[in-house]
Amino acid sequence: MDIQKYQKIFSQESEKYLKELDDLLMAVEKDLFNTGLWGDIHGKVHSVKGMARALSLERITVLGHNMEEWCKNFQSETVKAHPDAVQILFNGVELLRLLVARSGEIDSAEDQRWYTHLMSQLKKGPEELAAGGIQAKPTPMKEASIGKIDYVRVKYDLIEELLGLSQEIMLLEKSIPLLSHEQISGGLKTWIDDYTSMLKGLHFRLAQLRLMSVGDFADLFVKTIRNLAQENGRKVRFEVIGGEIQADITLLERLREPFIHLIRNSIAHGIEPPEERTRSGKDPEGKITLEAMRERERLIIKIGDDGRGIDRSAVEKYFREKRSMSDDQISRISEEEFFDAIISPEFTSASETTDMSGRGIGMNVVAQAIEFLGGRLTIRSESLKGTEFIMRLPVSLSIIHTVTFKIGDYILSIPTSDVESIQRREAPSSGGAPCYDLRGLLGVKENQERSPYILRFKLAGEKYTKEEMETEIAVAVDSVIGNKRMMVMPIGEILSKAKVFSGVGIMENGDVSILFDIKNLPTLPNNSR
């Protein structure tokens, strides 16, 4: 990602956090010793600082760090919060706002004095404030601090409604009456074509409003993590990586419950109490990390902790007792298969049912939810180092480029990034890759002519498996429609059963195409080639 794009995301995200900080500071002003609120304030400042550090914005990082130190004191009740401390932090938020707007730069002597003064106050620490060594005064509001309105909150239902309306307008195209020669020559046909083309573009843009950033999604869990940690006597911090990545809000909504379950598990069974962590030489504060990334058309979301890891002996017991396996057989199971056992409905490693973990849903329900989205859940765990749940979701609602082709009546697409070459069958072959006849595989009626086009692919091995090597394959298709931009939607529960589709593509004209998962082809029997 280029730096300017990242800076824009930083600016947008920070503005959101700073607005939330204003609200939180106003709340804590009325409830000074509410450690939960101080925890939330700490979290927001930490988020701004973290993003600034990634962009090497030194002033914002240092200011954020000093504000965090104050919050920590009030959060842990090491120092009693004081109304003037809230004012100092209000001033800090105001200064952060100015620095974010100017990419961390200070361009006037007045602002430099403001920065130096506030930093000296913050560095003295809240103890000094309590002793009367700091005088907190509100910073005079600067004009620049009242930013222009860039965003408005819109209800999701309204977006759906707008999408519906735009699609209905598009459908009117189908009922255009026959035009006379005079009307056509008078330019009416061109005008209608232009009009419908713009409508389709509008619909396509509107559909993108359904995207939500993973960072916003992660914010939903901040308070839950804090509450669960407190209930269980754990210290937990929450880190988000790849928060700028966007995904379909309906997809993220379906991940909400599974995530809460995984977070509960992490806090109840994974992250150790602070004293146990200290004894093991770990930071007493545990960490839950949510990381998002894109891999071609896939959205990968990982959620992990740095806790004690999954109890291997409980899993081994399951293999011995439920699957009648010997110790020798168990020792030969791959790590992936070993931890897959946890997804099994009859598996339970919980030694006791707690209010948090024993809610009647196990890991199998989490796996089912991922499967419903056409994705796959993989578990990695290492004793004393932690556990990571990796969700590989074949699609999210996003825009991708595809090669779209026809096999019989079926319109199918494959991400352009997967396609190595397209050639006519009679062209000289450039390799000996196995070639699959999709007509036969998809049950399309045979005709005398062989499919005239050959699409070649070079597939990278799965990143999270040991199979790192590339695979070359080719498929024969009836016709190539061309390169298309598509909005990708999840495949849903019914079609995900086929295990050969990775999503549904919506073209700019509203036509639908199925995204064919070419990666499944090499696993087919030889006689399909």
């Binding site: 759906e160 595989l441 019914i494 086929a498 050969v500 589709f501 087919l524």
Partner: protein, 142 residues
């Protein structure tokens, strides 16, 4: 309680109107390979995707054929979306709440079997999808 009544597989069926999102016709359904014969395809409607089935054929387990001008009943419930073609639409009937009853009587000797969207959905899930059988007569590779 209001019920939408229709004929499918020679049977008079009813579904609660609260599940009906829209009744549409003249929409484009995209066929999907490797699906059972009752599965008609996907419909992209108002920004959402609907699996569309031919209900009569799903119940009879016969090959489905779409006729022009047929209505599709779109259902939305519990986060699921499904469209179905009935063999024939009868209309709406209003009957007093008959809690737990699976059949209601509307006229002399005529009864409607009440079904839920989940019943159709679960029936659809019973079918096999994907490469259930690799045909033997696939053309050889290049």
């Amino acid at each position: 309680m209001e019920w939408f009544s229709f004929i499918a597989a020679d049977e008079h069926l009813g579904i609660e109107t609260q599940y009906i999102y829209r009744v549409v016709d003249d929409v484009k359904i995209t066929p999907v390979p490797l699906t059972p014969s009752c599965y008609m395809g996907l419909l992209y409607y108002r920004g959402e995707l609907f699996d569309v089935v031919h209900l009569g054929n799903l119940l009879r387990q016969e090959k489905a054929k779409r006729k022009d001008g047929e209505w599709i009943i779109l259902l939305k419930w519990s986060g699921k979306k499904l469209g179905f073609f009935p063999d024939r639409v009868r209309g709406l009937v209003w009957v007093e709440d008959q809690a737990g009853s699976q059949r209601i009587h509307i006229e002399e000797k005529e009864t409607i079997r009440l079904i839920t969207p989940d019943l159709i959905w679960n029936k659809l899930l019973e079918f096999s999808y994907g490469y259930s059988k690799i045909p033997e007569n696939i053309q050889p590779g290049i």
